[in-house]
């Protein structure tokens, strides 16, 4: 009982993910700053932002539906934290696992986007409604390639459970190199999911103020920010578990270091693309995702199907 609470709230649970998420945000921001040739924020910046937001006044617009408005940030945070329990972090086994948890994790990671949509919709301001519509439109562009390219490695491993997938790839080293196309597709989809720069169309601050989050302030905004940070870490852990499945079974300390390194590597790639690219228009993003990214995901699927016929009898 106590161990379960410890797992849920402290160690691979909420507190660890929150701290790791804030650290990842710092690394993202410092890389962004250094690539722009400036100093960047000090190491405690994300923490200071969060504490300040929590201590600020919450303003709820009188037009908005207060219950939905307040519930959405907490729901986003909960879904992102819950998803982490099914992902094998540094051992081959996740905290909980059952056959089919891969699909559950993918859906849990979709919930934050839905809460952005609902939160923006229920705050009834014009800008947040536009942001909400863009968030949901964007969802249809990146979600299908993401699902296909994450299900392809599962097909090769012949299981729907993330823990069994990790065990399969640990037993067959170098099989993960077949999935590199899928890794690229998943990175692009992750940028869309986290609303990072080429795909930050829902919160494009130069066009629609702050998009979905326009009316959010204080604690609620802080929870949304934390949810995005946690989602970044959990998403990166999912990519690490599916596409970079090595370094298991060498002791938990070394495994932990390798896990952190993998996640930070993915965070660095995301920060790099944030610096390099400029924001796309929503129609350009749809076109890009459906014309180029989705076919690439299908290529990955075909490769894995063919390999399954050749390698595994």
């Amino acid at each position: 009982m106590i161990a379960a609470f410890f797992n849920l709230l402290i160690f691979p649970g909420f507190l660890f993910l929150a701290i790791f998420g804030l650290a990842a945000e710092y690394i993202d921001r410092i890389i962004y700053a250094r690539l722009q040739n400036r100093m960047g924020p000090p190491w405690f910046q994300p923490l200071a932002d969060l504490i300040k937001l929590i201590a600020k006044e919450d303003v709820i617009p009188c037009e908005a539906n207060p219950r939905m408005f307040k519930m959405m940030p907490i729901l986003a945070l909960t879904a992102a934290v819950t998803a982490s329990f099914y992902i094998p972090l540094w051992g081959e086994r996740a905290l909980f696992s059952f056959n089919g948890d891969l699909v559950v994790v993918l859906y849990l990671l979709t919930i934050p986007t839905l809460t952005f949509f609902l939160g923006g919709w229920y705050s009834t301001s014009l800008f947040s409604k536009i942001g909400a519509m863009r968030a949901i439109t964007q969802l249809f562009a990146y979600e299908v390639p993401l699902f296909i390219c994450i299900l392809a490695p599962a097909l090769l491993a012949n299981t729907w459970s993330l823990s069994e997938m990790a065990a399969f790839y640990a037993a067959h080293p170098f099989y993960w190199t077949f999935n590199l196309i899928g890794f690229g597709v998943a990175l692009i989809a992750m940028l869309g999911k986290l609303e990072k720069v080429p795909f930050d169309i829902p919160e494009a601050e130069t066009e629609i103020v702050a998009g979905t989050f326009t009316e959010y302030s204080g604690k609620l905004l802080g929870f949304f920010k934390l949810a995005i940070d946690v989602e970044a870490v959990v998403g990166a852990s999912l990519l690490a578990a599916v596409f970079l499945p090595f370094g298991y079974g060498i002791g938990s300390y070394l495994g932990f270091v390798i896990y952190v390194a993998k996640v930070l590597f993915i965070i660095c790639l995301l920060a790099l693309s944030r610096t390099i690219f400029a924001r796309l228009r929503i129609d350009q993003m749809m076109e890009f995702c459906w014309k180029y990214v989705a076919p690439l995901a299908f290529v990955q699927l075909v490769i894995d199907l063919a390999l399954k016929g050749v390698l595994i009898r």
């Binding site: 100093m39 702050a210 302030s217």
Partner: protein, 157 residues
């Protein structure tokens, strides 16, 4: 409680998010404010970020001598900001009216309309002066650490 208050004060000092509002400036001060936010001066070192919406902002950075037409809008933007909030007047115009003082269509300074926490003179105020003024405002918050920090707006003007 003392420790919590200290941490909160520290966080507020380290993370001021600003919103920039032109209250009728001749545009030179706005250009200087925007210049202060570029990588050259790198205000993110102090945790300062430019936000698009008053709901996210802690500091309202105004430039210009509040024209009669913009007064209700300025008040409205100020009221949309959550507490605690501060106002910084950038440029001689917004401090005192500057060259526009006494014109038929201006209020001669932000403090005619809103409580101001920091005045940054200069025509236009240079980015260095703006950074100096903002850091001084933050330092003055630290001095008041003992008392509960509130925006000067909380006790009605």
């Amino acid at each position: 409680m003392g420790l919590v208050r200290k941490i909160v004060t520290w966080a507020r000092i380290k993370s001021p998010w600003i919103i920039h509002f032109n209250t009728g400036a001749c545009n030179a001060c706005d250009i200087e404010i925007v210049a202060a936010l570029t990588p050259r001066y790198d205000l993110e070192r102090f945790g300062i970020q430019l936000k698009g919406t008053p709901r996210h902002a802690d500091v309202l950075v105004c430039s210009g001598p509040v024209t009669k037409q913009i007064t209700p809008r300025l008040k409205r933007i100020y009221e949309q900001m959550p507490e605690p909030k501060f106002v910084v007047a950038v440029g001689t115009c917004s401090c005192s009216g500057g060259v526009f003082q006494g014109c038929y269509n201006v209020e001669s300074g932000i403090d005619e309309v809103l409580p101001v926490s920091a005045y940054i003179p200069g025509c236009p105020a240079s980015p260095k002066a703006i950074i100096d003024g903002v850091t001084k405002l933050l330092m003055s918050l630290e001095d008041k650490e003992g008392s509960r920090i509130q925006g000067p707006g909380s006790g009605k003007k």
